[in-house]
Protein backbone atom coordinates (compact mmCIF):
# COMPACT_ATOMS: atom_id res chain seq x y z
CA UNK A 1 0.00 0.00 0.00
CA UNK A 2 1.58 3.29 -1.05
CA UNK A 3 -0.85 5.41 0.86
CA UNK A 4 -4.10 3.53 1.46
CA UNK A 5 -7.18 5.02 -0.20
CA UNK A 6 -9.66 6.69 2.09
CA UNK A 7 -12.01 3.76 1.61
CA UNK A 8 -9.30 1.23 2.43
CA UNK A 9 -9.71 -0.88 5.53
CA UNK A 10 -5.99 -0.37 6.30
CA UNK A 11 -5.62 1.76 9.41
CA UNK A 12 -1.89 1.76 10.10
CA UNK A 13 1.00 0.62 7.95
CA UNK A 14 4.63 0.02 8.81
CA UNK A 15 6.45 1.89 6.11
CA UNK A 16 6.16 4.37 3.29
CA UNK A 17 8.54 4.05 0.35
CA UNK A 18 8.55 7.64 -0.89
CA UNK A 19 10.70 9.20 -3.59
CA UNK A 20 12.99 10.88 -1.05
CA UNK A 21 13.45 7.87 1.17
CA UNK A 22 11.95 5.00 3.06
CA UNK A 23 10.20 6.10 6.22
CA UNK A 24 9.35 3.33 8.62
CA UNK A 25 8.11 2.64 12.07
CA UNK A 26 10.13 0.28 14.20
CA UNK A 27 10.79 -0.29 17.86
CA UNK A 28 13.41 2.01 19.31
CA UNK A 29 14.78 2.58 22.75
CA UNK A 30 13.32 5.90 23.96
CA UNK A 31 16.36 6.58 26.14
CA UNK A 32 18.63 6.20 23.13
CA UNK A 33 16.62 8.72 21.12
CA UNK A 34 16.41 11.11 24.08
CA UNK A 35 20.16 10.67 24.56
CA UNK A 36 20.84 11.91 21.03
CA UNK A 37 18.62 14.90 21.71
CA UNK A 38 20.71 15.65 24.79
CA UNK A 39 23.86 15.41 22.67
CA UNK A 40 22.35 17.93 20.30
CA UNK A 41 18.70 19.05 20.23
CA UNK A 42 16.93 17.75 17.12
CA UNK A 43 19.13 14.71 16.47
CA UNK A 44 16.67 12.37 18.17
CA UNK A 45 13.87 13.65 15.98
CA UNK A 46 15.97 13.16 12.85
CA UNK A 47 16.55 9.54 13.90
CA UNK A 48 12.84 8.78 14.07
CA UNK A 49 12.25 10.53 10.70
CA UNK A 50 10.49 13.54 12.23
CA UNK A 51 12.57 15.79 10.04
CA UNK A 52 10.83 19.17 10.25
CA UNK A 53 10.79 19.12 14.05
CA UNK A 54 14.40 17.99 14.01
CA UNK A 55 15.48 20.80 11.69
CA UNK A 56 13.66 23.36 13.79
CA UNK A 57 15.19 22.30 17.09
CA UNK A 58 18.64 21.86 15.58
CA UNK A 59 18.76 25.28 13.94
CA UNK A 60 17.31 26.91 17.02
CA UNK A 61 20.00 25.33 19.18
CA UNK A 62 22.76 26.63 16.89
CA UNK A 63 21.24 30.10 16.79
CA UNK A 64 20.89 30.45 20.57
CA UNK A 65 24.16 28.67 21.30
CA UNK A 66 26.14 31.00 19.05
CA UNK A 67 24.44 34.15 20.33
CA UNK A 68 24.57 33.12 23.97
CA UNK A 69 28.17 31.78 23.80
CA UNK A 70 27.01 28.54 25.44
CA UNK A 71 29.88 26.47 24.05
CA UNK A 72 32.55 28.83 25.39
CA UNK A 73 30.86 28.81 28.80
CA UNK A 74 30.86 24.98 28.76
CA UNK A 75 34.51 24.92 27.78
CA UNK A 76 35.52 27.41 30.51
CA UNK A 77 33.43 25.66 33.17
CA UNK A 78 34.85 22.22 32.42
CA UNK A 79 38.38 23.55 32.56
CA UNK A 80 37.86 25.36 35.88
CA UNK A 81 37.74 28.94 34.59
CA UNK A 82 34.44 29.78 36.24
CA UNK A 83 34.70 33.55 36.24
CA UNK A 84 35.41 33.52 32.48
CA UNK A 85 32.39 31.28 32.00
CA UNK A 86 30.16 33.71 33.85
CA UNK A 87 31.52 36.65 31.91
CA UNK A 88 31.21 35.12 28.48
CA UNK A 89 27.54 34.05 28.75
CA UNK A 90 25.19 36.53 27.11
CA UNK A 91 22.27 37.01 29.50
CA UNK A 92 20.24 38.31 26.61
CA UNK A 93 19.98 34.74 25.25
CA UNK A 94 20.81 32.12 27.87
CA UNK A 95 17.35 31.80 29.41
CA UNK A 96 15.92 30.75 26.05
CA UNK A 97 18.44 27.96 25.70
CA UNK A 98 17.49 25.85 28.71
CA UNK A 99 13.80 25.18 28.00
CA UNK A 100 14.50 24.39 24.35
CA UNK A 101 17.22 21.95 25.32
CA UNK A 102 15.04 20.15 27.86
CA UNK A 103 12.00 20.15 25.61
CA UNK A 104 13.97 18.56 22.76
CA UNK A 105 15.05 15.66 24.96
CA UNK A 106 11.67 15.16 26.58
CA UNK A 107 9.79 15.38 23.30
CA UNK A 108 12.18 12.90 21.68
CA UNK A 109 11.47 10.44 24.51
CA UNK A 110 7.71 10.96 24.38
CA UNK A 111 7.58 10.70 20.58
CA UNK A 112 9.54 7.45 20.60
CA UNK A 113 7.22 5.83 23.14
CA UNK A 114 4.23 6.90 21.03
CA UNK A 115 5.78 5.66 17.79
CA UNK A 116 6.61 2.34 19.43
CA UNK A 117 2.94 1.93 20.26
CA UNK A 118 2.00 2.83 16.69
CA UNK A 119 4.56 0.28 15.47
CA UNK A 120 3.08 -2.48 17.60
CA UNK A 121 -0.42 -1.73 16.32
CA UNK A 122 0.78 -1.57 12.72
CA UNK A 123 2.73 -4.82 13.09
CA UNK A 124 -0.35 -6.56 14.48
CA UNK A 125 -2.44 -5.23 11.60
CA UNK A 126 0.27 -6.49 9.21
CA UNK A 127 -0.89 -4.49 6.19
CA UNK A 128 1.01 -4.71 2.92
CA UNK A 129 3.56 -2.06 1.98
CA UNK A 130 4.27 -0.97 -1.58
CA UNK A 131 8.00 -1.58 -2.06
CA UNK A 132 8.74 0.37 -5.25
CA UNK A 133 8.37 4.01 -6.16
CA UNK A 134 9.51 5.74 -9.30
CA UNK A 135 9.03 9.42 -10.10
CA UNK A 136 10.45 12.28 -12.11
CA UNK A 137 13.28 13.13 -9.74
CA UNK A 138 14.14 9.90 -7.96
CA UNK A 139 13.65 6.14 -7.78
CA UNK A 140 13.32 4.38 -4.45
CA UNK A 141 12.69 0.76 -3.53
CA UNK A 142 13.36 -1.56 -0.65
CA UNK A 143 16.81 -3.06 -0.84
CA UNK A 144 19.57 -4.31 1.41
CA UNK A 145 22.89 -2.65 2.27
CA UNK A 146 25.73 -3.60 4.58
CA UNK A 147 25.38 -1.55 7.79
CA UNK A 148 29.14 -1.15 8.31
CA UNK A 149 29.43 0.14 4.78
CA UNK A 150 27.04 3.03 5.36
CA UNK A 151 28.63 3.74 8.75
CA UNK A 152 32.08 3.91 7.17
CA UNK A 153 30.98 6.33 4.43
CA UNK A 154 29.39 8.61 7.00
CA UNK A 155 32.56 8.43 9.07
CA UNK A 156 34.59 9.75 6.14
CA UNK A 157 32.11 12.43 5.17
CA UNK A 158 28.97 12.83 7.28
CA UNK A 159 25.90 12.31 5.09
CA UNK A 160 27.32 9.91 2.50
CA UNK A 161 25.99 6.88 4.39
CA UNK A 162 22.55 8.47 4.38
CA UNK A 163 22.78 8.96 0.60
CA UNK A 164 23.78 5.31 0.22
CA UNK A 165 20.57 4.17 1.92
CA UNK A 166 18.55 6.85 0.13
CA UNK A 167 17.59 8.89 3.17
CA UNK A 168 17.63 12.21 1.37
CA UNK A 169 16.07 14.56 3.99
CA UNK A 170 18.62 13.35 6.52
CA UNK A 171 21.54 13.32 4.07
CA UNK A 172 20.89 16.87 2.86
CA UNK A 173 20.64 18.28 6.35
CA UNK A 174 23.67 16.42 7.71
CA UNK A 175 25.86 17.43 4.76
CA UNK A 176 24.90 21.11 4.98
CA UNK A 177 25.20 21.39 8.76
CA UNK A 178 28.39 19.38 9.07
CA UNK A 179 30.11 21.43 6.35
CA UNK A 180 28.93 24.65 8.03
CA UNK A 181 30.06 23.51 11.49
CA UNK A 182 33.39 22.11 10.25
CA UNK A 183 34.16 25.37 8.48
CA UNK A 184 33.18 27.56 11.42
CA UNK A 185 35.14 25.44 13.87
CA UNK A 186 38.20 25.25 11.59
CA UNK A 187 38.43 21.55 12.42
CA UNK A 188 40.20 20.53 9.21
CA UNK A 189 43.23 22.83 9.65
CA UNK A 190 43.26 21.76 13.30
CA UNK A 191 43.45 18.10 12.28
CA UNK A 192 46.17 18.99 9.82
CA UNK A 193 48.34 20.70 12.46
CA UNK A 194 47.59 18.04 15.08
CA UNK A 195 48.92 15.31 12.83
CA UNK A 196 51.99 17.39 12.00
CA UNK A 197 52.64 17.67 15.74
CA UNK A 198 52.25 21.47 15.85
CA UNK A 199 50.09 21.42 18.95
CA UNK A 200 50.30 25.07 20.00
CA UNK A 201 49.26 26.23 16.55
CA UNK A 202 46.59 23.55 16.68
CA UNK A 203 44.91 24.97 19.79
CA UNK A 204 44.97 28.52 18.50
CA UNK A 205 43.38 27.71 15.13
CA UNK A 206 40.30 26.01 16.61
CA UNK A 207 37.26 28.15 17.10
CA UNK A 208 35.15 26.82 19.99
CA UNK A 209 32.43 29.34 19.23
CA UNK A 210 31.52 31.53 16.28
CA UNK A 211 32.84 34.96 17.02
Amino acid sequence: MDRPESQSPVRRYLAYVGLLGTTQLHLRNPFMIAGWSLAFPGLGHLLVSKYIRGYLLFLWEIFVNVNGHINLAILYSFTGRFQMAKDVLDINWVLLYIPTYIFAAWDAYRTTVDLNHQYILAAREDAEVKMFNIGQLEINYLDKRTPWNSAAWSAMMPGLGQILIHRIPGALFIIITSIAVFQQAKILPAIHFAFLGQFEYDKSVINPQCS
Partner: protein, 209 residues
Protein backbone atom coordinates in the same frame (compact mmCIF):
# COMPACT_ATOMS: atom_id res chain seq x y z
CA UNK B 1 31.25 25.34 17.06
CA UNK B 2 34.11 22.95 17.73
CA UNK B 3 32.39 21.39 20.74
CA UNK B 4 29.36 20.45 18.64
CA UNK B 5 31.37 18.35 16.23
CA UNK B 6 31.54 15.15 18.32
CA UNK B 7 27.77 14.80 18.53
CA UNK B 8 27.04 15.74 14.92
CA UNK B 9 29.80 13.51 13.56
CA UNK B 10 28.89 10.51 15.71
CA UNK B 11 25.24 11.02 14.90
CA UNK B 12 25.88 10.81 11.16
CA UNK B 13 27.59 7.44 11.65
CA UNK B 14 24.95 6.11 14.02
CA UNK B 15 22.01 7.26 11.89
CA UNK B 16 23.50 5.66 8.77
CA UNK B 17 24.12 2.40 10.61
CA UNK B 18 20.80 1.93 12.39
CA UNK B 19 18.72 2.97 9.41
CA UNK B 20 20.55 0.54 7.18
CA UNK B 21 19.76 -2.21 9.67
CA UNK B 22 16.09 -1.28 9.79
CA UNK B 23 15.83 -0.94 6.01
CA UNK B 24 17.29 -4.44 5.67
CA UNK B 25 14.75 -5.80 8.12
CA UNK B 26 11.94 -4.08 6.25
CA UNK B 27 13.15 -5.64 3.00
CA UNK B 28 13.13 -9.13 4.54
CA UNK B 29 9.68 -8.57 6.00
CA UNK B 30 8.23 -7.31 2.71
CA UNK B 31 9.78 -10.08 0.63
CA UNK B 32 8.61 -12.85 2.92
CA UNK B 33 5.11 -11.36 2.77
CA UNK B 34 5.33 -11.38 -1.02
CA UNK B 35 6.48 -15.02 -1.11
CA UNK B 36 3.76 -16.14 1.27
CA UNK B 37 1.14 -14.47 -0.87
CA UNK B 38 2.37 -15.56 -4.29
CA UNK B 39 4.48 -18.68 -3.95
CA UNK B 40 2.69 -20.82 -1.43
CA UNK B 41 0.17 -22.02 -3.96
CA UNK B 42 -2.31 -24.70 -2.94
CA UNK B 43 -1.88 -26.35 -6.36
CA UNK B 44 1.77 -27.08 -5.71
CA UNK B 45 2.22 -30.86 -5.64
CA UNK B 46 4.23 -31.82 -2.64
CA UNK B 47 6.46 -34.77 -3.52
CA UNK B 48 4.75 -37.04 -1.03
CA UNK B 49 1.29 -38.54 -0.88
CA UNK B 50 -0.03 -37.48 -4.28
CA UNK B 51 0.21 -40.36 -6.72
CA UNK B 52 -2.07 -38.90 -9.39
CA UNK B 53 0.92 -37.86 -11.48
CA UNK B 54 -0.25 -34.27 -11.77
CA UNK B 55 3.17 -32.84 -10.88
CA UNK B 56 6.09 -32.68 -13.27
CA UNK B 57 8.11 -35.16 -11.27
CA UNK B 58 11.48 -33.58 -10.57
CA UNK B 59 12.00 -31.54 -7.44
CA UNK B 60 14.87 -29.15 -6.86
CA UNK B 61 15.29 -27.77 -3.37
CA UNK B 62 17.37 -24.66 -2.84
CA UNK B 63 18.03 -22.16 -0.10
CA UNK B 64 18.43 -18.39 -0.34
CA UNK B 65 18.85 -15.28 1.74
CA UNK B 66 16.31 -12.54 1.21
CA UNK B 67 17.54 -10.40 -1.67
CA UNK B 68 16.54 -9.16 -5.09
CA UNK B 69 18.49 -12.07 -6.58
CA UNK B 70 15.84 -14.41 -5.18
CA UNK B 71 13.11 -12.64 -7.14
CA UNK B 72 15.35 -12.52 -10.20
CA UNK B 73 15.86 -16.29 -9.92
CA UNK B 74 12.14 -16.99 -9.53
CA UNK B 75 11.14 -14.80 -12.46
CA UNK B 76 13.96 -16.19 -14.66
CA UNK B 77 12.69 -19.70 -13.98
CA UNK B 78 9.14 -18.63 -14.82
CA UNK B 79 10.40 -17.08 -18.08
CA UNK B 80 11.76 -20.53 -19.00
CA UNK B 81 8.22 -21.86 -18.96
CA UNK B 82 7.81 -23.27 -15.47
CA UNK B 83 4.40 -22.34 -14.10
CA UNK B 84 4.10 -20.15 -11.05
CA UNK B 85 2.17 -22.82 -9.18
CA UNK B 86 5.10 -25.22 -9.58
CA UNK B 87 7.34 -22.90 -7.58
CA UNK B 88 7.13 -23.01 -3.81
CA UNK B 89 8.86 -20.28 -1.84
CA UNK B 90 8.88 -20.66 1.92
CA UNK B 91 10.23 -17.72 3.93
CA UNK B 92 11.43 -19.07 7.25
CA UNK B 93 10.35 -17.53 10.55
CA UNK B 94 13.40 -16.44 12.43
CA UNK B 95 13.97 -17.70 15.89
CA UNK B 96 14.71 -14.53 17.78
CA UNK B 97 12.97 -11.76 15.90
CA UNK B 98 9.37 -12.75 16.41
CA UNK B 99 9.94 -13.36 20.07
CA UNK B 100 11.86 -10.14 20.49
CA UNK B 101 9.46 -8.04 18.44
CA UNK B 102 6.87 -7.50 21.14
CA UNK B 103 9.20 -8.00 24.02
CA UNK B 104 8.84 -4.51 25.41
CA UNK B 105 8.99 -1.01 24.10
CA UNK B 106 12.38 -0.59 25.67
CA UNK B 107 14.29 -3.25 23.81
CA UNK B 108 14.55 -1.59 20.48
CA UNK B 109 15.98 -3.91 17.87
CA UNK B 110 16.87 -6.96 19.89
CA UNK B 111 20.56 -6.54 19.17
CA UNK B 112 21.64 -2.95 19.64
CA UNK B 113 25.36 -3.69 19.82
CA UNK B 114 26.13 -0.29 18.35
CA UNK B 115 24.23 1.93 20.81
CA UNK B 116 26.44 2.09 23.88
CA UNK B 117 29.80 2.28 22.02
CA UNK B 118 28.67 5.21 19.91
CA UNK B 119 27.25 7.14 22.87
CA UNK B 120 30.41 6.67 24.89
CA UNK B 121 32.48 7.60 21.84
CA UNK B 122 30.57 10.89 21.53
CA UNK B 123 30.88 11.67 25.26
CA UNK B 124 34.58 10.80 25.50
CA UNK B 125 35.30 12.69 22.29
CA UNK B 126 33.63 15.76 23.77
CA UNK B 127 35.60 15.48 27.02
CA UNK B 128 38.79 14.82 25.08
CA UNK B 129 38.33 17.90 22.95
CA UNK B 130 37.55 20.07 26.02
CA UNK B 131 40.50 18.97 28.16
CA UNK B 132 42.70 18.79 25.08
CA UNK B 133 42.84 22.59 25.28
CA UNK B 134 44.87 22.18 28.49
CA UNK B 135 46.98 19.20 27.40
CA UNK B 136 50.01 19.13 25.16
CA UNK B 137 48.54 17.13 22.28
CA UNK B 138 45.63 19.52 21.79
CA UNK B 139 41.89 19.02 21.35
CA UNK B 140 41.97 17.18 18.02
CA UNK B 141 44.17 14.29 19.06
CA UNK B 142 42.53 14.02 22.47
CA UNK B 143 39.15 14.07 20.76
CA UNK B 144 40.17 11.21 18.49
CA UNK B 145 41.65 9.34 21.45
CA UNK B 146 38.32 9.93 23.20
CA UNK B 147 36.43 8.35 20.28
CA UNK B 148 38.64 5.27 20.30
CA UNK B 149 38.58 4.84 24.09
CA UNK B 150 34.82 5.46 24.34
CA UNK B 151 33.96 3.13 21.49
CA UNK B 152 36.17 0.30 22.76
CA UNK B 153 34.93 0.73 26.30
CA UNK B 154 31.29 0.61 25.14
CA UNK B 155 31.93 -2.42 22.96
CA UNK B 156 33.65 -4.31 25.79
CA UNK B 157 30.83 -3.52 28.22
CA UNK B 158 28.22 -4.49 25.63
CA UNK B 159 29.97 -7.74 24.75
CA UNK B 160 30.33 -8.72 28.40
CA UNK B 161 26.73 -7.92 29.26
CA UNK B 162 25.33 -9.68 26.18
CA UNK B 163 27.58 -12.71 26.29
CA UNK B 164 24.67 -14.92 27.20
CA UNK B 165 23.10 -14.11 23.83
CA UNK B 166 26.01 -15.47 21.84
CA UNK B 167 24.09 -18.53 20.71
CA UNK B 168 21.23 -16.41 19.51
CA UNK B 169 23.51 -14.37 17.27
CA UNK B 170 24.78 -17.49 15.56
CA UNK B 171 21.23 -18.62 14.87
CA UNK B 172 20.52 -15.29 13.17
CA UNK B 173 22.80 -16.48 10.38
CA UNK B 174 20.30 -19.21 9.44
CA UNK B 175 18.82 -19.74 5.98
CA UNK B 176 16.03 -17.29 5.25
CA UNK B 177 14.10 -18.82 2.32
CA UNK B 178 13.61 -22.36 1.03
CA UNK B 179 12.68 -22.55 -2.65
CA UNK B 180 11.33 -25.76 -4.20
CA UNK B 181 10.88 -26.07 -7.97
CA UNK B 182 8.74 -28.78 -9.51
CA UNK B 183 10.04 -29.32 -13.07
CA UNK B 184 10.46 -31.83 -15.88
CA UNK B 185 13.58 -33.93 -16.15
CA UNK B 186 14.91 -32.04 -19.19
CA UNK B 187 14.63 -28.74 -17.33
CA UNK B 188 16.69 -29.98 -14.40
CA UNK B 189 20.12 -28.63 -15.37
CA UNK B 190 18.73 -25.33 -16.60
CA UNK B 191 16.90 -24.70 -13.31
CA UNK B 192 19.95 -25.69 -11.25
CA UNK B 193 22.17 -23.34 -13.25
CA UNK B 194 19.72 -20.47 -12.85
CA UNK B 195 19.57 -21.00 -9.10
CA UNK B 196 23.35 -21.06 -8.73
CA UNK B 197 23.73 -18.01 -10.96
CA UNK B 198 21.43 -16.06 -8.67
CA UNK B 199 23.45 -16.68 -5.54
CA UNK B 200 21.59 -19.63 -4.06
CA UNK B 201 23.18 -20.78 -0.81
CA UNK B 202 22.58 -24.42 -1.67
CA UNK B 203 20.86 -26.39 -4.45
CA UNK B 204 20.00 -30.08 -4.62
CA UNK B 205 17.73 -32.35 -6.62
CA UNK B 206 15.39 -34.31 -4.40
CA UNK B 207 15.87 -38.10 -4.67
CA UNK B 208 12.95 -40.11 -3.37
CA UNK B 209 13.11 -43.86 -3.67
Amino acid sequence: MFLNIPSIYMFAIYDAYVNTVSNNKLFDWEQSKFLKKNYENKNFNMPFGKADGSGEGMYIVSTFDHSNYLELAITAIQMKGIAKENILGVPMDKRSEDIKLFDSIHSADGLSLFDLPIILAAVFCLLGSIYGFLLTWGPVLWGIIGILVGFSLGLVIKLITTKKYDNRQKKLKATEVVLIIDCKENQLEMVKDLLWEHHALGVRKLNIN
